[in-house]
Amino acid sequence: MRISDFSKKKERLLKIKKEDLIDLPYPYNRRDLEPDIQGLTEDQLKTFDSSLDGISALGIRMPKDRKEEEEIVRKFINGLQKLLTPENNWTFLMPLYHSLEYCVRCQLCNDHCPVYIASGKKEIYRPTLRGEILRRLVERYVKKRSSVVLKLSGCDLELNWQTIARLGELAYRCTLCRRCAMACPLGVDNGLISREIRKLLSQELGLAPKELHELGTVQQLKVGSSTGITPKALKNIIEFIESDIEEKLGKKIKIPVDKEGAEVLLIHNAGEYLSWPENVEAFAIIFDLANIDWTLSSDLMGYDAVNYGLWYDDIQFARIAIRHIEVAKKLKVKKINVGECGHAHKALVVVADRVLTGDMNIPRESALPLLRDLIVKGKLKVDPKKNNFPVTLHDPCNVVRLMGIVEPQREILRRICPDFREMEPHGIHNYCCGGGSGFAIIQSMNFPSWRSSVSGRMKLKQILEVFQDVISPDVKKYVCAPCSNCKGQLRDLFNSFKTNELCGIFYGGIAELIVNALEDLKKPFIEWEWH
């Protein structure tokens, strides 16, 4: 593929096949054990654009006529202009400007991108491509350079509907893991460029994957959670969780909800209540044992730490961040503690920091240092032998590379898991789970298939490698992923590769491992039940 092909009305720029992808270790050295990458249905092909790679995350509908096509192009140019103004984009103007102006096209960053490598280095997934296209469009349509300058600088790419549709989809082939940015000696950030393209589409054209927007931020602002859990439903779930704890622990724990003046407001990703209630249970047990003065909130938004705005829309991002703080203010808590959710960590603790002023700036922190302190200072009595199975740690990009919280989770695992092993590479050099930036929740059309086969591939490779010596399904193995979003991706990834069945690989959070190691616990907390 040539860069100039991007605006040509061709069938499709890439037909991605599983044979082209990089090899995986045993047992997936047999390609027949690997799932196929699904195509779109006939109907979907007729309705949605798939001219990038035959995959659809955004669900961009073909324009009805020429007029509509021109309108989209006009809006896109408006959006491009807005991206470069301080009024509309003070939030990211400087990083975007730098990334557009100072890339020297040395291509050093490419080999750090898990999507590009996993795909067998397919041109369209090269991290520099999005930036290059956006840069060329800015020079031509915003800066309006003369035709000579455009020719000399190669910025004569045409902007048409096809270019927009492909660029939009391409922005959703990047997990915003920013591994490429870390590799750039000049501080250029191709991950940010993907985000800014997404923002332009959302904030000007109203175009975003429905799981992020309608079912995501819009639903969260309306009913309280992107999962659809309402405050009333939450109360029922908590009752269920309390009785489950009683069954496992043999004693009753009252989970504090809406306790005014508590020291800590703990906010989980609401996905935990639905899919991994054992994580919520584990936190409740730990906090109760450690005598922490804490509470959950049942207020609208107070029980769902997710903020999908982080990935595609600054306005939606700010709206959600502010609601989270208002809940904390209402409860008069001293601080907010974010549970095991990577993007909520980054959103609420770091990125929202410069949206919150005055009394809105309530202290916010990760739950991991607190858990580490409880273990290291001996506040919880643990017996590591109870976790006598191979454990590896997945580093959520948002927590590690993007926040510098690297050691607490390791300090915990080193103390409670005798067979803890690091993946390579790990820490800030980790590979994304493949579900970052909203990918894990995008379930429409054939995107999940691409997500498992391509964006999650490097992670699967690492996991298989670290467990190669115990790869038999008879040995139970645990991938500790202290992030709800990553767990969602691992669940889908392992399901599609039947990894639990073929290799005995299971996944879960870190709080569950802590509780499983508690000295006084009569029976194991981790039940190895696949869900």
Binding site: W90, C106, D353, R354, G358, G404, G427
Partner: protein, 301 residues
Amino acid sequence: METFLALFTYFAHLFLIHVYIVRLAKYLKMPVHLRWELYPVIHEEKYPSASSYLEEKDWWLKKRKKKYLRGFFFLLKDYFILSDYAKGKFLYWLGLYPWHMGFILTMFFEFLCFISGLYIIRGGQVSDSSPSIVGTFLYHMTLIIGVLSFLTGMVGSVLIFLNRVFDKSLREYAVLLHYITYGVTFLLFFTGFYSWFFTDPKLEEYRLFWAGLLSFDFSRVGLWTAIHIMVYDLFLLYLPYTRWLHYITRFFAFFFIRWDDEPNIPGSSLERKVARLLEKKVTWSAPHIDKGKSWVDLARV
């Protein structure tokens, strides 16, 4: 001729300084942005493990120690190593390194000529038989740095050009300006080399030319030195159209973006800046945004 050359040299330098000031001012005037740091953040205490202050419980109650100089020296040192390229793209580095060194050394050469010029107009003598150690030092340094810059620059221009042509990924992303830049830099270093080798082995003419520029008493230079100075001036005029300002903006990108982990402390000047930005009116026009409202009003709906 010498007057024209001198005026052209003044102009080229002033032009470059002007454009660079405008560009850098534009950069520095940009509003504070949302935090978007990337670890490792070099001024962090626990930099070796790439950790941040966020690893501490109640981090806002603790004192944060920042080691700014560490970042400054890290970036400065890397100009002379380009270690990421040496590790990640060695063949490219083989061309990039001499090319960069040629450029850095040329700047240094010009600086030495400037100092030598000042020394000469104040009555000093710059030569290998100068009675002063300063004069002999300047003479030898200018000769070594000048010749090294011509040689490394020439080799680098050729190798980097070959890299762009033969490496598929580099070629696909190359634009005409890349090749023009390689051509211009080759010409720059080649003319310098030629004039030194064939006409001015002591690089005396540059010194006198600079002394003339500084005293407004323009001295005559030989043909090849004049050609080199012309090419150098043209190179300065061309620089703003390349991405070479990254020498400086790289510092901004690291200090203001990648390593910008400054929390928004209540009552701080950062908080006041953010509060002002939140008042800005937004004109995004997707259905979920009320065009014309301020950020703060939009966020509170």
